[in-house]
Structures are given as C-alpha cells and as structure tokens.
Symmetry: C2
Subunit: 465 residues, 2 copies
C-alpha cells in the first residue's frame, strides 16, 4: 500500500502533493508499470484524507498519462518507458490535439460532450437488436440521403420537439455537419459568396477556405448578424446559428430573424444555412421559432447533428433542404453514396422512435444545468468574483466570463495554461482583430468533469490578474 507523509507538503494543496508523490514514484519505477493502485477509498482511508483528494490526484495523473483506469477494476500504472521511445513517424500536432492527449487539469476550450453521459447500454442494446432483427435490411444499400426509417424518425422528432414540419424526403443524412457543408457548397455553388459570423466558430471558416470558396465575415450586434453589413457584403449565402451563437451566446430575436429572411428574399441566389447545433440544450425560457419554421420562400437549409446531443464519436448529422433544393440535390448529387453506415442509421432511427433521444436530452439538460450551476457557484465563491461578470448563461453549453483585468488575452491564456487550465478568449474568434474585445473568457462546460470544477475555477481565477 502506498504511504505518504504530508508533513513536507509546503504550500501545495493535499491533492497536489499526493499527485506529485505518486508521480515521483512512477517516474523512479518505485511503482512499476501495470501495477494496480489502491482504490480511491482505500488510499483515502489509509492516508487519512478525503476520497475527493485522492480522486483529484488520480484524475491529474490520468490526464497526464501516468496511470489509466480499467472499468470495474481500478487504476493501473502506465508503461512510461514507452513515452521516451521516439516514434517512427512524428505524429502531427493536429493529431495530438485530435486525440485529446494534451494534459490539462481542466479544459474550457474542448466542447465535446462527456463520454460517460452517453447512453451506452441503451445504444448498444438497440444496436444488438438491429443486428438480429434487420440482417436483410442492413445489407441493402442506403439511398444517398439516408435510410427512410431514419429520415422518418428525424422528421417526427423535429415536428414534436422543434415545431419543424418537414417531409422525410427533404432530409439528407451524412457523416457529420462538416461533410454536409461540403455537399452544400457543391449544391449551391463554388462561385457563391458565403457570409459567416464574426466572431464565429472557426471550423466553419476553415471549411470554406479548404473548399476555396469566397467567404466574408459579417460583424454582429447584440441581436446577431448585422443586416447592413450583410446587405453591402455581396454575400449570397448566409451561414448562421441564430438559436445560440458561438461564442457570444447571442440568441437572435424574432424581429432580426424576419430581417434575415427578408434579406434572403431579395435575390433568387440567396440562401440561409441555419446551423442549430445545440438548440436542444437551451436551459431557460421558451425557444424562439427556427428560421426554417417561419420561412415560406424555401430559403432556409436547416442543419443539426447528433454528435452534440449523443456523443462526438457518433458521426451522424442531417440537413433539411427546401423542396426546390432537394430536387436539385436528387438531380445533381444523389449519385453520392450515403456516408453513414446502415448499422448506425437503423440504430439511431430506433433509438429516436423509442423515445430514447428525448429522454437522453432531458437528462442531459438537467445534467448540464447542474454542471452550469456548480460552475457559477464556484465562480461566485471566489474572493475576486466582483472583478468578473457572467454573461449569456442560459442557453447552450457555454457562457462568457468578462474579466476586469489589465492583462492582455495572450497572458491570460498562458497563465491559465501554467496552472493546467485550457481557456480561449472571445477575441480569438474575431476575424477582424480588435483589442476592445479583450478580457472575455469562453467557458465551455460540456466536457468538464464535475469533481474538477471547484479546483478548476480556483486555478482559473489564479490566472486572471
């Protein structure tokens, strides 16, 4: 059994000291690779400290790759010798980022959902059922736009939970919204100008760039996209997320929505891509009707994803095309095979039809509300809370924290990093850099582990001045 004395812990917190001691023992091979660590409870009892302290120390060791967990068994020491062996090919920086091996104590930039919230047993139960029941259908090639069962399930779901009334035939299923953006570009034209929000989700801009289509960045006011700038930009296609803008959190009010539809009505080439990526997780108040549901001129392409509501490892998204565009899609692009496998299409269809999606979203909404409340509480209990302001905390899975500080954003970010906290600032999401936008931190809380919240916020506040 590991035994440590806390006499020499100095200014370290109990958990920091414990983490350092175990790490030292792993690095010196005092505890060897593959060795099982005592359970959190046992170690806590033995050292006469709280289980939470051990939990935090283990979490930090795990985040840094020194130990790993085996479900229903416990924690084991990693083979750290392999860490020093150079790899044949250096993995790219992006690969590293992708696999989330970067070692932060808490990551407020990562917006992927927590894997342990995924209804894994229900999902796999249905997948097993599908494999037994539908062996014939599973082997029949899916139509380009997705299997009818899934499109029907999505259509029913949209009608019941988003008030969106569309025919299943208008729905195109694809392996992620990023793939669907590519299809939209092929559908609407590479020669069109695409307007995106400034600030905005950087990936959207990257996708237009990678496809070498012209994009313009349109500034926003407190109601959303600025119509005058939009009018004068020469844009044909407007790509927005009016139900919850990232990163500002703005919810576009109905009056501005009509202005946007009016802009679209002025030319036959104009279309709106309504990206409704996290509308399910609105935490307070009545949702505002989607642009799609008040569009009578067939101008809105509505899109959403199950990667946000279920798991980022489930690659299923969809878009709803207005009828003239679905005709064009069928004519010009339906030669493409559907990118989602039948196994997952049928599983998702049954998952939705049996009411599991609704149940899961309700459960997650409660979970995120608890998550948000815990973070807000932790923030409010900080001694320096009065120097910060919380904004836009009622919608979606992130909010903003305005900080009254003299430090430039780069310094905030690097100080936070030094404390094991990954943050991003609103200013980073502006295409037009503007120092007046500084000092606002984006708090993505969907991927954060609850047990880390208090410590994470404490470390964050340590980094702000």
């Amino acid at each position: 059994m590991l035994t440590y004395s806390f006499e020499n812990k100095g200014s370290d917190s109990l958990y920091e000291y414990l983490y350092k001691q175990i790490k030292k023992d792993i690095l010196s091979y005092t505890i060897s690779a593959g060795e099982k660590l005592p359970s959190k409870r046992t170690l806590a009892k033995n050292l006469n400290i709280s289980t939470i302290t051990v939990e935090n120390a283990y979490a930090q060791l795990m985040a840094e790759g020194y130990i790993y967990s085996v479900p229903k068994s416990g924690f084991y020491v990693s083979d750290i010798s392999s860490k020093k062996t150079p790899q044949k090919t250096e993995p790219s920086k992006n690969d590293i980022l992708d696999t989330h091996t970067t070692t932060y104590f808490a990551d407020f930039v990562n917006n992927s959902t927590q894997s342990n919230n995924f209804p894994f047993s229900t999902w796999t139960k249905i997948m097993r059922e599908i494999m037994s029941d539908m062996s014939e259908k599973l082997m029949v090639r899916s139509p380009s736009s997705g299997v009818p069962e899934l499109r029907q399930a999505i259509s029913n779901y949209l009608y019941q939970f988003r008030g969106i009334n569309v025919e299943p035939e208008q729905i195109i299923v694809g392996a992620g919204t990023e793939y669907l953006y590519g299809l939209i570009i092929q559908l609407l034209g590479q020669d069109k100008t695409y307007a995106i929000e400034d600030p905005g989700y950087q990936k959207i801009s990257k996708i237009y760039d990678a496809n070498k289509v012209k994009s313009v960045h349109i500034g926003m006011d407190e109601s959303g996209i600025d119509i005058k700038t939009l009018e004068s930009s020469g844009a044909d296609i407007l790509h927005i997320s009016p139900s919850h803008h990232f990163p500002t959190g703005i919810v576009t009010p109905i009056s501005r929505r009509y202005e946007i539809l009016s802009w679209a009505s002025k030319s036959p080439d104009r279309y709106i891509i309504e990206d409704d990526y996290d509308s399910e997780f609105r935490l307070l108040g009545k949702p505002i009707p989607s642009l799609q549901s008040i569009d009578v001129l067939d101008k809105v392409i509505y899109m959403n994803t199950f990667s946000k509501s279920l798991s980022s490892t489930i690659r299923i998204s969809y878009m709803v095309l207005p009828k003239p565009l679905i005709a064009k899609y069928n004519r010009e692009l339906s030669f493409y095979s559907c990118t989602v496998s039948n196994f997952e299409q049928y599983t998702l269809a049954r998952f939705i039809e049996a009411g599991h999606l609704e149940k899961h979203i309700n459960r997650m909404r409660n979970y995120y509300r608890g998550q948000r409340d815990a973070i807000l509480e932790a923030i409010k209990s900080q001694p320096d809370f009065s120097l910060t302001t919380i904004k836009e905390e009622n919608s979606g899975l992130h909010f903003l924290l305005e900080v009254n500080t003299k430090l430039p954003d780069e310094t905030l970010i690097s100080k936070a990093k030094g404390n094991g906290i990954n943050i991003s600032c609103l200013s980073q999401y502006y295409y037009q850099k503007d120092r007046t936008k500084e000092h606002t931190i984006i708090i993505n809380y969907s991927g954060l582990d609850k047990i880390h919240i208090e410590e994470a916020i404490k470390r964050l506040y340590k980094s702000l001045w």
Copy 2:
C-alpha cells in the same frame, strides 16, 4: 394450394408461365395480400415441376414487388393496392435507383456485391465484442485520419497481401472513396487539372464536376492510359485504376506504369491517384506491383475501399498519402472529424487483425470464380455463341462480351430491358462518343444470383440480334 395447368403455356418457358399465372392471381386478388405462398419445394411437387422453375418464378415476382420473403418463414403476397396510392412526395428518380427497386430479372450494370455473401455473423459477433470490451475507447474521439488500431491493421494488411509498405500514419480513413476524392481535391487544389480515363467509371467524372474542378479525359490503348495524350493535356493529377480498369478490364503492364511515374516526376505539382478498388479479386495470375510500391518520389496516392471487398453498406475506405502530403493534410485538413464511427472502425480493425478479411476475400474469390465460370459456361452453350467474343475475364468482377451484330447499342439495351435484363455497353463509358466502340457489353457479375444465371444469359442472347 395453388394449382395451375401448364397446358396453355404456349411458347412461354415453364417458369415464365408460372410467374404470369401467380401474378394474374395476385392482381385479381384471388390470392390476397399477406397470404403465404406454398414453399418452393411443395409447389414444385404439387405441380410436378422442378424446384428451380418455382424458384425462378418466385424470384421474378419478388423482383417486381408482388411477393416478399420473410427469412426462415417463406414467401408472402405484397399489398399491391398500396402500389396505386400516390405518395405525398414523389421520390426522385435517383432515389429509386439507389434503393434498387427497379425490376429486372437480372442486372449486369449493378456492381454491388451480394449481401448474402457478407460474413454477417462474424462481423456482428466482433461488433458485439467491441461494444463489450471497448466501451471507453468507443467514446474517445477518433483522430481525423482514423483510430490508430484500424490504420495499423490496414498497414499490416497492405504489407502482407499487396506488398505495400506504409506507415499507419500515412493512412487516412473515410466514409467511402467518394468522400476521400473530395478531400484529395481540397488537398491538391481546386485549381489543378485532373486527368481521368476515357472510357471510365462515370462517378469519378461526376465528382470532379460536382466539385467544379477541371477534368480532362485521356484516351486509352491496350496498355492503359495514353501517355502522349496525357503529356499534352496540361493535366496535373492523374486518376487511374491500373490493376483493373473499369470498364475495359485492362491491366496496365509494368512498362506503362514506369512511363506514368516518369510523367509524374516531371513537375512538382503532378500526382497520381491510384484507385485499386477491386484488386483483391484478381482471379488469375500474379498481381503486378502497385504504382504506390514502385514510387520513390512520393507521387502516388493509393486508395482502396472495404465496400467492395465486404459490403456496399459498410462505408469504410482509405487512402495512403505520401509523406509530404500527409504533412500537408495534417497541417491543413486534419481539423475535419473522421467520418467513420468508432464502432465500425474498431470492428473492422479487429476483423482484419483476426484474419477474417483475408479469409473472406479468399472465399469470395472462389465464389466469384464459380460465378464467372457458370456465366461463361452458360454463354458458351448458347446457340449463337459463335457470334460473340469474351474478353478480359481473368481480373476483377466484370468482363466484356463483344457481339457481332448490326443493332446499335441503344437497341441492344432496350431489347434487353424488354426481356428483363439490365445491361450497359462499353460505348456508354466513353466521354468522346465513337460509333466504332459499339457492340461490347459489360458483364458485371458480382451482384448476380447464381440461380438466375442460365435464364439471364438466355434472355440476354435473345436481345442481341
């Protein structure tokens, strides 16, 4: 029990007559919707005809939607009244094609593999194992290029069975080759000119068109792509399938392969996309080394798919990028999420590592050899065989049938259609239309049901003069 007298069958074959009688009874509601038909064996015994005759009649009724089969139960009469009810939204023509509801007795155009050959129980067994064993990993986001386990498995497989030696890090996994073509265009540039084979697989041309990139069609001689035309075309990227060209069946010899590599070496912008889609199914002789394996200048992008070797409903393909391009991919495009779900990536990785892919391919190679032999035998037994010539029957899953006839190809196709047979002609795959290419029919045999072969070839030969 259905009882029919065959006295008035006239010139119809037994099976045709039986099919017509049952169809008439269904249309007149003498047999009603949902009613179970006698088993093939019982009906055959009762009518004193062979089981094959009943089988053919049922197959035709099923193809036309009059009856349907329930696994382990039998054949049932469809609700034909619903056939007359108009649908809310007319499904598009392409949707119909996609779902393969077109009613042919035999389809020599469709090149999708037969679903009952898919190792369904092994695949689902592994998928179940993966769901139990890897619940944690399944919830960790895949790197953009695919999970390491699958890339490692593909790398091992390529080394053992294709003599291709690549690092797992060079492999990019995606949901179908069509998706990967789109990535290649983004990687190499929309401003480049892409050379494709003429004749060629039409979808490739469609994808370049949909992405609005310039493509040029390069003629072929008996060794493959014509180098002089290629040199003068101004093309930067050459997209070819040298191991087995569709539809001509040409296998590019090693001398021409070196000429192609030499062409690529002459400019830093030049690259070759080597599409090796059905190389696994070479039926005779030693395979010629892939372009990738003799390329020392990092000019070849090798791609292949599991949709061909496993099932068209499994949407997993991959490409191997030369190292400088993989660096570019990681820099510029790895922000894209991987389009294949973790469930299927891990399942395929284990399927390959456990040797099931190899076993399956060997089994299928035997199956297709049997299939091809049965078709060749049926062809050779036709009274008019001497007016036709079989070509390129030793590689891949199709061959050519040259016909000595005066009928133009359009007439051949429509006559065959009248006989329930879907065919395509070599001339249709030429970008530059040329009447001298007429009278060659493409026989895709991968999707054909063995019990239909004899009848299908008989009907085909009825349509040729």
